[in-house]
């Protein structure tokens, strides 16, 4: 940098030379020469003060930049041989080691999900993943949500500024049902070979909800689908009951209440007798003896039809429920926000 005022360019030369020798480079910013230059400003004729002051500031900025570069260079670590399995000069007894198995942990939601998948696997259901960014078609249209349906507004569902090929905003799926159409299409040929469609989709979903101890905008659902000839609503209830009894390891009662979903007909809300108090009433079931667990129903004929499955020949059922809640109830976890907190205080309890 060039300085027009010789008093400043002289000082710049001196200070830059000294910078090389300083241990703490930042000390250069406290140099007496710099202070002396600032002190000179009030002694100058008013019309010169502005230009002079500007140049001192430039010098100060130049020095600051040099200090920063030096610091970064000082902090930069030497290059490693990244192709080697260990660093140079590491004593034989101190080669890299994995941490102790006892402190490792799987996330409780993932562990529980695996357990659930395993039960359903034994019942004949395969598990697949869901999407985290999907389109309007799979989230709504293919699920029999009419155009203009309020669920298509962004009050409950996160949407992106970016759009799909048809100009609709992309969607952060609010339910794992966003996979239903894909599952039906992918397995349609198996139906024709006489095999049922039996698929579980346990994965992450999103809802435009404020966070508190009981509400998360990010959570996990398990979607189940079963399609074949002659499938009825009794099969649905029996399947869920069988799963829950295996999951809790005890006999349970179940009940259903009529409900409404666009993609099932009829639709139900499904409850089980509280497995923690034998229906006596406890804090988990809010003293009612029952736990409302999930929504379910017979897959709407339009959902089958749009996937190329003839609803006059095949029928099926589907359900979707929260995994987080099952895990919270099982372990007495009081705050849903722990799950996505990545706190080791929380996670290592599940070692």
């Amino acid at each position: 940098m060039e300085y027009s005022d010789t008093r400043i360019s002289d000082a710049a030369g001196v200070l830059k030379t000294r910078l090389q020798t300083l241990d703490n480079k930042a000390d250069i910013l406290k140099a007496v020469e710099l202070k002396a230059l600032y002190a000179e400003i009030p002694t100058l004729p008013p019309e010169e003060r502005g230009a002079f002051g500007k140049e001192i500031n430039s010098l100060r900025q130049e020095l600051e930049a040099l200090v920063a570069t030096h610091q970064e260079q000082a902090e930069a670590l030497p290059a490693l041989d990244i192709t080697a399995p260990f660093d140079v000069n590491v004593p034989a007894g101190q080669l890299p080691q994995l941490l102790a198995e006892t402190q490792g942990s799987m996330h409780p939601l993932m562990r529980e999900r695996e357990l659930m998948c395993d039960i359903f696997y034994r019942m004949g259901f395969t598990s697949i993943e869901s999407r985290e960014l999907d389109d309007d078609y799979h989230m709504f249209t293919a699920l029999n949500f009419p155009l203009g349906h309020p669920a298509r507004d962004d009050y409950d569902t996160f949407m992106t500024e970016e759009t799909d090929a048809s100009g609709n905003r992309l969607v952060a799926p609010a339910h794992t049902s966003t996979m239903q159409h894909r599952v039906l299409k992918a397995h349609k040929h198996e139906l024709e070979q006489g095999k049922p469609i039996a698929v579980l989709v346990p994965d992450r979903v999103f809802r435009n909800e404020d966070l508190d101890a009981r509400h998360e905008h990010t959570f996990y659902q398990f979607e189940g689908m079963y399609v074949n000839k002659g499938v009825n609503a009794g099969h649905l209830m029996a399947t869920l009951k069988t799963f829950l009894e295996a999951y809790y390891g005890k006999a349970l009662e179940v009940k259903s209440q009529p409900f409404y979903f666009p993609f099932t007909e009829p639709s139900f809300e499904f409850s089980l007798s509280c497995p923690f108090c034998e229906k006596q009433g406890c804090s988990v079931c809010s003293q009612t003896g029952w736990i409302e667990l999930l929504g379910c129903g017979m897959i709407h004929p339009n959902v089958l039809r749009v996937a190329g499955i003839d609803p006059a020949v095949y029928t099926g059922f589907a359900w979707g429920g929260g995994i987080d809640r099952l895990v919270m109830m099982k372990y007495g976890i009081e705050d849903v926000r722990h799950f996505e907190s990545a706190k080791l205080d929380f996670l290592r309890q599940f070692s």
């Binding site: 970064e72 930069a76 670590l77 290059a79 490693l80 041989d81 990244i82 192709t83 080697a84 660093d87 140079v88 590491v90 004593p91 034989a92 890299p96 994995l98 941490l99 402190q103 490792g104 942990s105 799987m106 996330h107 695996e114 259901f125 395969t126 598990s127 697949i128 993943e129 985290e132 960014l133 996160f158 970016e162 799909d164 090929a165 992309l170 952060a172 039996a198 999103f206 404020d210 905008h217 009825n232 609503a233 009794g234 099969h235 209830m237 029996a238 399947t239 009940k255 209440q257 009529p258 409404y260 007909e265 009829p266 639709s267 809300e269 017979m298 799950f339 996505e340 990545a342 290592r348």
Partner: protein, 846 residues
């Protein structure tokens, strides 16, 4: 949706239903409604707070000698209250401060020992006998507010009609043992008819297997009496026939606005409604009864807005900038698509949501316009959400009321106002209908549904005969024809939800009782269930890493733009939420590592000195579109290792090698340890990795991910400890590699012992370890071939201080299938190795 059991009972005589709402008691009814209609969220015994309250007549009323505002009354309670002092005539003395107390009134008396109903749920106030300015008062006479049936506290409640003194208040007003059920609204999303008591009563009859017939007046072709007074000019212009399928209006004059009869106030109050005046209360009441919202406008106020001789009502959208003051006092500028009710000049209401204050019915009103309209459900919902207006009308309209019931309801309320509020019909019934002709003709929204009994039974797992199904449906007023096993089902005019055979399945199943369906598992053959390879791979990774001491975390898929910037990523590459709850969740993450880095500092602060966090999740980057036309979902595995200075001091060597050990451990589990290569990372492409201390990982030569330590600036921004490194890998590539690779960890054992010898090579410091190692491995493979097997174990790298050389040490463990190897043979092998490395890398054996 709140409903009172006593109201249902009361109306049994109006509709034709011989049954009883709760034949087995309230608890059984709640359970039955839950199973067959919808979940009951709450029950409240609304009549209990009136215990001890008695209807009484004021027989004598004179001024208190020592207090201007007080009166001393003698009341007749029919002599039924015990333990109070009575006059010779059996009357009871009560001091009352209400301005409206007078001889001849019939009132609600709270005798000594009774609790003020309004205080029951808060801080119960029990009345006694006490002196007021020297005169004994036995309890008190109650105002509507004290009786919890309204806000009014200016005077005591005046009971009109023929209530006999001495009747218990709860008995007089149908409150004894009354139970109000709150049924979850969500259950009725597709059942607008169940937002009226008649609809719920019909269902309760239906689920008990009893026939129900709607009241005579509830007919789609109802009409009103001819104009019976000087006509009021009323014109309607519906400019939105697509959104307003039906718009009914009528004008009435000579209306006397005043308080509603007490029974009506009580009916509204017990369901949480606030009585206002008779006109408003009647419109609310018939809405509660039928589900059809009604609105009353002051005719003269509407007319004077336009300064015209008659009233003109226009249904239209708002003009730009047009505003309205609502009944709740709020000023709004309605959204452009809102359905507005207006006079020629001025908006007077947000259709189906809330009326305007300009045309409100008040105590001076004598002429009114009554509206019974049908509004598009989605439009109502959007307007309601846009302006935060949640009214009983919105709750009903946004379920899509049937446009075939408007005439019935407007005719009924006209009659009620004629009978009870002095109104006279002063215009024709204006009925603007914009429905297809066939809907009006068949008096049903959808064509009759043909369905075979077998179709229904197959879907329910039942064997009901067609005639049994028909009975269930007819109980709730369906018209059902039977032809052999086929039912022809025509829904009544108020049902909007019966369109396809599956709708009939639902109806039959629900009325029959889902709780009675046989629970049988689907039959299944013995073929094995396939496993999804991606799910299986991720599960395996989870197990491997957690067993290796790492902690699995789940973090949000959305991140703050600042986090992206802190690690040098460009938010413009990330999908952006348009309705994020907060800036914390604005962008889809570009990969997982920044989320993990963000969680390091908190855990160190919480006292964890050394840990490895890992996450398996999805990442999205704009511009990457999959074969399905959707954004590609990258399946990633990320791991971050960190140690505070105290723990780092116990580790020798750079943090890079700690995470590399994790990567190698993981890959060895798949038998892919030799398929992985580390090449120096092109720093420009890696925003947060430290130059010279990070690598691109290749798997079978394909880019697999990155591994390394983090830049000083990133460490500073995220408060990372100096000893910190991590990797992020592509699970899809790993999956492909595992599927293409037959991993057989086994090699036949030799009968001969294996021999171990070490070799140390001096090389120039810049020589990459992996090059030397793989050359040695190649030489050994070629030389030993099928004759035996070997392991080459890296032992260490030593760089003497002040030199430009490194010493690389390996241990060779080798066995032959044919013989016991002699030391000289192994040494010769190592000499061959040394010669090869010398040729390629100028090494020297030490």
């Amino acid at each position: 949706m709140k409903i009172s059991i006593n109201t249902l009972r009361y109306y049994k005589n109006h509709y034709q239903w011989s049954g009883e709402p709760a034949p087995e008691g309230a608890a059984a009814l709640v359970e039955k409604i839950g199973a067959q209609l919808g979940a009951v969220e709450e029950t409240e015994r609304v009549g209990d707070k009136y215990q001890g309250v008695v209807v009484a007549a004021v027989k004598e009323c004179r001024k208190h000698p020592d207090a201007d505002k007080l009166n001393v009354c003698l009341i007749d309670d029919g002599g039924i209250v015990d333990g109070v002092e009575r006059t010779a005539e059996g009357l009871v003395q009560v001091v009352c401060g209400a301005p409206n107390v007078r001889q001849g009134l019939v009132v609600a008396w709270l005798p000594p020992g009774a609790t003020v109903p309004e205080s029951v749920s808060k801080d119960p106030f029990v009345l006694g006998t006490r002196e007021l300015r020297g005169i004994v008062s036995n309890g008190m006479l109650a105002s509507p507010r004290e009786l919890a049936i309204g806000d009014s506290h200016e005077g005591i409640l005046e009971i009109e009609g023929d209530a006999k003194p001495g009747t218990a208040f709860d008995e007089a007003f149908n409150l004894r043992d009354d139970l109000v059920l709150d049924i979850e609204n969500k259950m009725f999303t597709h059942r607008p008819d169940c937002f009226g008591w008649i609809g719920v009563a019909r269902e309760i009859a239906g689920i008990q297997g009893q026939p129900f017939v709607s009241p005579n007046w509830y007919r789609s072709d109802a009409s009103i009496p001819a104009v019976e007074a000087e006509p009021l000019m009323l014109t309607v212009r519906n400019e939105l026939p697509e959104l307003v399928k039906r718009f009914c209006m009528v004008a009435m004059r000579d209306v006397k606005v005043g308080p509603s009869p007490v029974w009506l106030q009580v009916e509204l109050a017990k369901l949480g409604q606030r009585p206002i005046n008779n006109i408003v209360d009647y419109t609310n009441y018939f809405m509660l009864l039928t589900g059809q919202p009604l609105h009353a406008y002051d005719y003269d106020k509407v007319r004077s807005l336009d300064g015209s001789d008659g009233a003109t009502i226009v249904v239209r959208h708002p003009k730009p900038g047009e505003a309205i003051t609502l009944l709740n006092g709020k000023d709004i500028e309605p959204r452009a698509e809102a359905i507005m009710i207006a006079s020629e000049s001025t908006m007077i209401g947000v259709g189906g949501v809330m009326g305007g204050s300009d045309t409100e019915v008040d105590e001076h009103t004598t002429a009114i316009i009554i509206e019974a309209a049908n509004f598009d459900m989605y439009s109502i919902r959007r307007t309601s959400m846009a302006h935060g207006l949640f009214t009983d009308a919105v709750t009903r309209f946004n379920k899509g009321q049937s446009p075939l019931q408007n005439r019935a309801v407007i005719a009924k309320i006209v009659n009620e106002i004629r009978s009870h509020a002095g109104g006279k019909v002063a215009s024709e019934l204006i009925d603007d209908v914009n429905l297809p002709a066939e809907v009006l003709e068949r008096n049903a929204l959808h064509a009759p549904v043909q369905v075979n009994a077998a179709f229904v039974n197959e879907r329910l797992g039942l064997q009901l005969p067609a005639v049994a199904m028909a009975t269930l449906l007819r109980n709730v007023e369906f018209e059902v024809g039977i032809d052999g096993n086929t039912l022809v089902v025509k829904a009544p005019f108020w049902r909007t939800d019966i369109e396809i055979p599956e709708d009939v399945v639902e109806e039959v199943g629900r009325l029959y009782g889902y709780d009675r369906l046989p629970l049988v598992l689907p039959a299944r053959d013995l073929s094995p269930t396939p496993k999804d390879a991606t799910v299986a791979l991720k599960t395996r990774l989870r197990h491997t890493l957690s067993r290796a001491g790492a902690n699995e975390v789940l973090t949000y898929s959305f991140v703050h733009g600042k986090l992206l910037e802190k690690v040098g990523q460009d938010p413009a590459q990330a999908y952006k939420l348009s309705n994020a709850l907060s800036p914390d969740l604005q962008y889809y993450r570009l990969n997982l590592t920044p989320s993990l880095l963000d969680k390091v500092h908190g855990n160190i602060k919480a006292g964890y000195g050394e840990f490895a966090l890992f996450e398996i999740g999805k990442a999205h980057v704009k511009g990457h579109i999959g074969d399905d036309g959707l954004p590609r979902e990258f399946e990633h595995l990320a791991l971050v290792y960190a140690a505070d200075p105290k723990h780092a001091a116990r580790r020798a060597g750079a943090a890079y090698y700690q995470v590399r050990a994790y990567l190698e451990h993981m890959m060895a589990g798949f038998g892919l340890q030799d398929a992985v290569q580390f090449v120096p990372l092109d720093n420009a492409a890696a925003p947060y990795y430290e130059s010279g201390r990070a690598a691109t990982v290749l798997l079978n030569g394909q880019p697999f991910g990155r591994i390394g330590e983090y830049r000083a600036q990133v460490r500073k921004n995220l408060k990372l400890p100096a000893y910190c490194a991590g990797f992020e890998l592509d699970c899809q590539l790993l999956l492909a590699a595992t599927q293409n690779h037959r991993h057989n960890p086994y090699r036949p054992l030799s009968r001969y012992p294996k021999v171990e010898q070490d070799i140390t090579l001096r090389v120039a410091a810049g020589t990459p370890f992996a090059g030397v190692q793989s050359l040695i491995s190649d030489v050994l493979k070629e030389t030993i071939a099928e004759d035996g097997y070997f392991d080459l174990i890296p032992l260490g790298v030593y760089q003497p201080e002040g030199t430009g050389d490194k010493h690389m040490s390996f241990r060779l463990s080798v066995a032959s299938y044919d013989k016991t190897l002699r030391d000289q043979e192994v040494a010769a092998l190592l000499e061959k190795v040394a010669a090869a490395t010398a040729a390629s890398f100028h090494t020297e054996q030490v």
